[in-house]
Subunit: 415 residues, 2 copies
């Protein structure tokens, strides 16, 4: 009936939206399909390597399905982890197996006990090591290490074709990893570093948008209670909500920075300073908390209009200058170009902030009701407080520009 | 030399700390070791199942290493995903293989093309589906589906022992999953739902600690600029920093809630309302943003003492009542007991908040300098604003208590 059609249509639209939001996802799907097909042709149909037993080719396919991730950083991280962990764990497993044979000879029960002891101990220790924060980048490797070590030492219990199988598997896993990494890098690669850069830039830009929008909306016209021009509640304005996502972006920034570390030498040819990106992100978030406080003053009903108009010039000045500074910082991070006029905007906002402080000192309070003037006065105070925050972000971006050798913009080179 | 000793000692201390921070991690390591050893004894040494070829026993070990996670929810989620995905993908792979044989007969190249086409298509589609938000809980299943489907259809290209191998693998993977799940649940289980509950409770408690601490520190004695009693900067007081982690706990709460969904029927015997926990967490975070704003007023140098002392009684009242309310809510969530006196505290804080509003209306401002009185006045305004926040948290906890059938405390039952 109708409702079923509707449901199917809704689901289809949702799936379509997933692709529209980021078309790289569709490309990623095709890349994974391609890598698996490539591996199967290579190992099953064309038989280029006589050294590998055909049925072991499935290990290459398994490896591709397990390690092929959306971004280059994640794929490289998992691929390198997988190759190193498999090889070392297999070597250790063979060694343990030799020890077991030497210590117990033909006594099968004894051999099983020795192997079981080692498997238990290694499994327990490596699993525990996965909780050590410093080993987080090698988490996948540790898991593969446990897996391979246990598999190799246990399957050595019945050693028919055993060593050959182990060798074949290592070779096919390496082949699978290489195919996955090559396809991931060579066809429309998704660099985590780039995504991180864009995220940080976008977050800074969102704060800039808020401050510029705040200026127009909060100090708008002569109304007692600020409303947007089209009469809608201010909460619906997208630029006043955008910053909300900055408040909670910490974990995605850190994840990206950790994965981007696998990429640096491949993409940029020099050590890229992901920690500095995370620092810029953290300072941006600090500033976003202040903006959250600012945002809460939209909702107060009492806002002394006359008082507000006295301070509004300086407040507007701060908003627009810091907004401009943030937007320039955002585009600097995005395009990896040195920011040029940021310091000018910050200086201007500092001047405005100083003037605002003086103004707050000399305003006479007799005529006002305290509850009415607190919201605009608190807004003024938060704005004064925002300026050093922006300066910190700017300093961190300058440091980043220095560390990561941002380009000097053309306009300076050709005056 | 000395420095090496030091380094080893430092590393050892760090590893020890990982275990001390959460001793369940050590238990988890032992559990994984045990599960792998169990599986190897079962499949390699004792041979209870004649139906499984011995070398296929490694699939059980592999499964355990891949799906055994720290919490029951994660292990169950991965285990169920793995079992369902493996079985269905294997069935489909066998089907595709039959189609390929029927359509191309003995033409090996034709068969390879048909299989290759299906592998590519399924790989691409399933990989893309992993981005659909609604399928996130089945992400691991989709990966395993791609893996198994490709492996089964490709390895069917040389069908010697092929079907038997596929069956063996499904059986061993199911055995491995079951062992992992049983060990995970039966030996010192770590329930995600419990961890989530504790996290939410702890976050609420942290806010309560802040508010109570703020009362004593900010309105402390007669100093012009608030300092802590022992002369240390206030930033060093742990209860004034604790709330910071609440600001960024969104992603861990959501992850836990998603994993906890796999647990409910096993632990609680009824549908547990993890969404409501996430809602309480989100409201707590909203409140934490306000507290971040409050915290920033510690750092203002000008704070009119005389003015502050006029409003301090009501402010202190709000802090202490909301602090008590939060602490009671925290213990209610933690112990799954209905909160009893929360509403009384909230009513008291509302009364204080109303009184404070009146007070702000009648205070005469002639004698004051605006810049000096803004910080304490803004603090007062934020505190007024915090009260409805706390009320929202309380309402959400009450709803949770109703939905999740919290116990009625004994003190009411036996008056």
């Amino acid at each position: 009936p109708q409702s079923w059609d509707n449901k199917v249509y809704r689901v289809a639209r949702k799936i379509k939206k997933v692709g529209q939001d980021d078309p790289r996802r569709i490309v990623h799907g095709l890349k994974v399909g391609l890598a698996i097909t490539l591996a199967s042709f290579l190992l099953f149909y064309t038989k280029p390597f006589d050294l590998v037993d055909q049925q072991n080719g499935i290990w290459a396919i398994m490896t591709i399905a397990l390690i092929f991730e959306f971004s280059v950083g994640a794929t490289l991280g998992k691929g390198l982890n997988r190759m190193v962990a498999t090889s070392s764990a297999a070597a250790l497993g063979v060694g343990i197996h030799k020890i077991a044979i030497r210590s117990s000879g033909t006594n099968k029960a004894g051999r099983a006990t020795v192997i079981g002891f080692f498997v238990f101990t290694m499994g327990a220790i490596c699993t525990f090591m996965r909780f050590v924060p410093a080993l987080k980048p090698y988490d996948y490797g540790l898991m593969i290490f446990i897996l391979t070590f246990s598999m190799v030492s246990v399957s050595g219990y019945e050693p028919e074709n055993w060593l050959k199988d182990v060798q074949d598997r290592i070779v096919t896993i390496i082949i699978g990893s290489v195919i996955a990494i090559v396809v991931c890098i060579c066809i429309c690669p998704v660099w985590n570093g780039e995504d991180l850069q864009n995220l940080i830039a976008k977050n800074i830009e969102k704060l800039g948008n808020f401050l510029e929008g705040f200026k127009d909306e909060y100090f708008h016209k002569g109304e007692y209670f600020p409303k947007s021009e089209d009469g809608q509640p201010l909460d619906n304005k997208p630029f006043l909500k955008g910053y909300k996502s900055v408040l909670t972006s910490k974990s995605s920034e850190e994840t990206m920075a950790n994965l981007a570390r696998w990429e640096w030498q491949y993409r940029f040819g020099f050590k890229h300073h992901w920690k500095q990106y995370v620092k810029v992100g953290a300072l941006t978030r600090e500033c976003a908390y202040k903006i959250e406080a600012l945002n809460s003053y939209f909702n107060f009903e009492f806002q002394a209009y006359e008082f507000r108009s006295k301070i509004q010039e300086q407040c507007k000045q701060i908003c627009s200058e810091t907004g401009k500074a943030l937007k320039e910082l955002a585009s600097a991070v995005k395009t990896m170009t040195k920011p040029t006029s940021v310091n000018i905007h910050i200086e201007k906002s500092k001047v405005a902030s100083r003037k605002l402080k003086l103004l707050l000192d000399i305003i006479l309070l007799e005529d006002y009701n305290l509850r009415e003037i607190i919201p605009p006065a608190a807004v003024a105070l938060i704005l004064i407080d925002v300026v050093p925050c922006i300066e910190k972000i700017a300093n961190a971006v300058h440091e980043l520009a220095y560390l990561a050798h941002f380009k000097t913009p053309d306009s300076i080179l050709s005056p």
